[in-house]
């Protein structure tokens, strides 16, 4: 998770955009000012794209597109919200569009994006200690990251986006709501449903099942 003190755009109530002056210069045509904005925000934009898309190269390409879009649209940036929030909204929209594009083209890696969990698997027995917890505790480092990364990819895009913004980027509910243009209640609902689904997927991955092969939802 990012340093919580990296508070770009995380305090919408503050009313002060830390990038205000730089944005003003960039809008006036100062390319160096725009590059400063790129340097400052590229990390967050890239990580958001990477976690939502699940592909490093795609995320790199999309991040560049995000900044190009921002550059083109800079004149329309009214400053109602911090620049970081505005850029985040562009990134999220670009990710959404890219995922839709993949869906249409039946991108092999993302065919099961919204596959429901548990359809083919029985409910775990509830009178025994939950094996998922023990198995999860036993995982460390690379394996754990791999597990989380894989299961994140299989979450519904709406849940995935909110999880990435909230849990990985530490974005406040209000800002997420502004980025996604939905009510705060919807953000919370998606977050908790996403977490629940993630938890269910993790349990099913880790719970040994006789004769069960592959992950739920995969063909």
């Amino acid at each position: 998770m990012t340093d919580p003190t990296d508070a770009v755009g995380r305090d919408p109530a503050a009313g002060i955009d830390p990038d205000g002056e730089t944005v003003r210069r960039a809008r006036a045509g100062d390319r160096e000012a725009f590059e400063q904005l790129v340097l400052k925000h590229q990390r967050r934009a890239f990580n958001v794209a990477y976690r939502i898309l699940g592909d490093y190269e795609e995320a790199l390409d999309l991040t560049q597109e995000v900044f190009m879009q921002a550059h083109r649209s800079l004149a329309q940036f009214r400053g109602d919200a911090p620049f970081g929030s505005w850029l985040l909204a562009i990134a999220v929209n670009q990710c959404r569009n890219r995922l839709k594009h993949w869906k249409r083209r039946a991108h092999a890696k993302h065919e099961s994006l919204s596959a429901p969990i548990g359809e083919d698997c029985p409910e775990p027995q509830r009178d025994l200690p939950d094996p998922g917890t023990t198995a999860l505790e036993a995982l460390e480092g690379r394996q754990l990251e791999e597990l989380m990364r894989e299961e994140l990819k299989h979450l519904d895009e709406e849940y995935r986006t909110v999880l990435v913004l909230r849990e990985l980027q530490g974005v406040a509910y209000e800002e997420i709501a502004r980025v996604l243009q939905v009510p705060v209640g919807t953000v919370k609902s998606r977050l908790h449903r996403g977490r629940t689904e993630l938890r269910e997927r993790v349990r099913l991955r880790l719970t040994p099942r006789s004769g069960a092969e592959g992950r739920p939802g995969h063909g």
Binding site: M1, T2, D3, P4, T5, R25, A28, G29, D30, R31, E32, F34, E35, Q36, V38, L39, K40, Q42, R43, F46, N47, Y50, Y56, L60, D61, T63, Q64, F67, M68, H71, R126, D127, P129, D130, G132, T133, L136, E137, L139, E140, G141, R142, L144, E145, M148, R149, L152, L163, E167, L168, K188, L191, H192, R193, R195, T196, L198, R199, V202, R203
Partner: protein
């Protein structure tokens, strides 16, 4: 507890953990958990899952982002700048514009046959019909004859400015000045040989020439602060004499690819005509111009990610070192083996000196500097199936670390300090050992580096520095000691 209750509870556990339930729902959930071991286990799983998810590393941004954005950020083609708020263009007779285009084309066509490096006044030697040469006002005709300069290319606009100074607001830029690209296309279509590249470069696209000229200077001198509008109005290049016609001396036409300017290396004019669209041609020209005009070492580290990410012992030799190495190789052929070896070592040392000088130079121009006297500690335990110390060294260097030094640790000290961690993981004590990897790491890359250590390479993170505010200076480097225990 009914199955339905447990299912319902499961769905609210996330909100319960986050404190997002209303008081009544939270109380009901708490009461249920007190009596349901399965749901308590589910709550624990929720806690572990989210904890693990939050530990997914935040990756450092690839160096290609800024480079890619730069490559795609090209100055607007002339015809885009004519649109929009350029209201002064509305109403300009199309005929006058066409006339100017033709005259400019004529002059540019003439320019390529001259060897002079001065900016010339259009000679009015038509190579193709110029229907309205007489109708061209002086200030618009002036830009039409750029010669082949070896001085810094002079935008045609400055001549126009001499006649009628270009104000500092883009909205008053003279129209004809922005019409070179299509003109060049006409040249080609008319069968003319490619005109001098500096001419279009400097031309008329006042903003392009001005932008280019102004851009070059700051690359060498430091951060740019002038706005695009300022560059447009004051490119910084000396205006050519307004009234000193340069005799046209026919010479061999420029071959595609021939570079005339010694200062600014203009591209082959044919590059301007990569396709039928002036837009793409101009963009290509601008892109290649940027590449030619971009000396990597002169860029401030804050702008160029590649500088910040260069490994501690970057093998690429600098100019002085290249010369030294070449000289060394040349002499080696005629020098006996032992002496040849000594000369190679001397050249390598010269290369390292050049690297250090570059390092000092970067620091001197406000590049990297370390503000921490005591190193930040990161302690990891290397699993048996983890990577090697060389892998870790490469990891550090890939993150932009400089001066990576490896020191072996006393096994007894390691064992004593970290035995409990080894016991917990079932690692044999007899194999205790370790290394210190000391390095100077870019501050902005440190967090991502630590996360990567924690999640990959079989490393268990035992200690890490406390959270710090984001560095104000992105070029700041921190002294870090990565203690890797075996």
């Amino acid at each position: 507890m009914g199955e339905l209750d447990c299912r319902k509870m499961r769905e609210s556990l996330s909100a319960y953990l986050e404190g997002d339930l209303d008081p009544a729902a939270a109380a009901a959930t708490r009461a249920h958990l007190e009596g349901c071991a399965a749901c308590r286990a589910e709550l624990e799983l929720e806690r572990l899952t989210i904890g693990a998810f939050r530990r997914l590393p935040d990756l450092p941004p690839p160096a290609g982002i800024l480079a890619g954005v730069r490559a795609r950020l090209q100055p607007e083609p002339w015809y885009r700048r004519l649109a929009g708020p350029r209201r002064w263009l509305i109403g300009v007779p199309a005929g006058a514009v066409a006339t100017v285009l033709v005259v400019i084309g004529v002059s540019l066509f003439q320019a390529r046959f001259t060897e002079t490096e001065k900016m010339g006044v259009p000679t009015q030697q038509p190579t193709y019909p110029q229907p309205a040469a007489t109708a061209v006002p002086a200030k618009t005709a002036v830009p039409a004859a750029p010669a082949v300069p070896t001085e810094p290319p002079v935008p045609i606009a400055p001549q126009a400015r001499t006649a009628s100074p270009v104000p500092k607001t883009p909205s008053v830029r003279p129209a004809p000045v922005a019409a070179v690209a299509p003109e060049r296309k006409d040249d080609r279509l008319a069968g003319a040989a490619p005109a001098a590249a500096p001419a279009p470069a400097s031309a008329p696209i006042t903003s392009a020439g001005g932008y280019r000229a102004a851009e070059q200077a700051p690359l060498a001198a430091g951060p740019r602060s002038e706005s695009m509008a300022d560059r447009v109005a004051a490119p910084g290049a000396p205006p050519a004499p307004a009234e000193s016609p340069v005799p046209v001396v026919p010479t061999k036409p420029l071959v595609v690819g021939q570079v005339e300017s010694k200062v600014d290396k203009p591209l082959p004019p044919a590059a301007m005509f990569a396709d039928e669209s002036g837009k793409d041609a101009n963009e290509q020209f601008q892109r290649q111009k940027e590449v030619a005009a971009r000396p990597a070492p002169a860029l401030p580290p804050a702008i160029d990610d590649r500088v910040a990410r260069q490994p501690a012992r970057a093998p690429a030799p600098r100019d002085g070192a290249v010369a030294a190495l070449e000289e060394s190789d040349a002499k080696a052929r005629s020098v006996p083996a032992p002496q040849m070896k000594m000369k190679k070592e001397a050249a390598a040392e010269s290369s390292r000196d050049a690297d250090r000088q570059d390092e000092v130079r970067r620091i001197a121009v406000g590049g990297e500097r370390s503000t921490i006297s005591r190193p930040l500690r990161v302690v990891c335990l290397l699993a048996p199936d983890g990577g090697t110390i060389d892998d870790l060294k490469r990891l550090l260097e890939r993150a932009g670390a400089h001066e990576v030094r490896i020191e072996a640790l006393d096994p007894r000290a390691v064992l004593e300090a970290y035995a409990p961690h080894r016991d917990k993981r079932g690692l044999p004590r007899e194999a205790a050992g370790g290394w210190d990897l000391n390095a100077r790491v870019p501050a902005q890359a440190l967090d991502g580096l630590i996360e990567e250590l924690a999640s990959r390479h079989g490393l268990h993170l035992l200690e890490r520095p406390a959270a710090r505010p984001a560095p104000e200076d992105p070029t700041e480097r921190l002294d870090v000691r990565l203690t890797v225990l075996q």
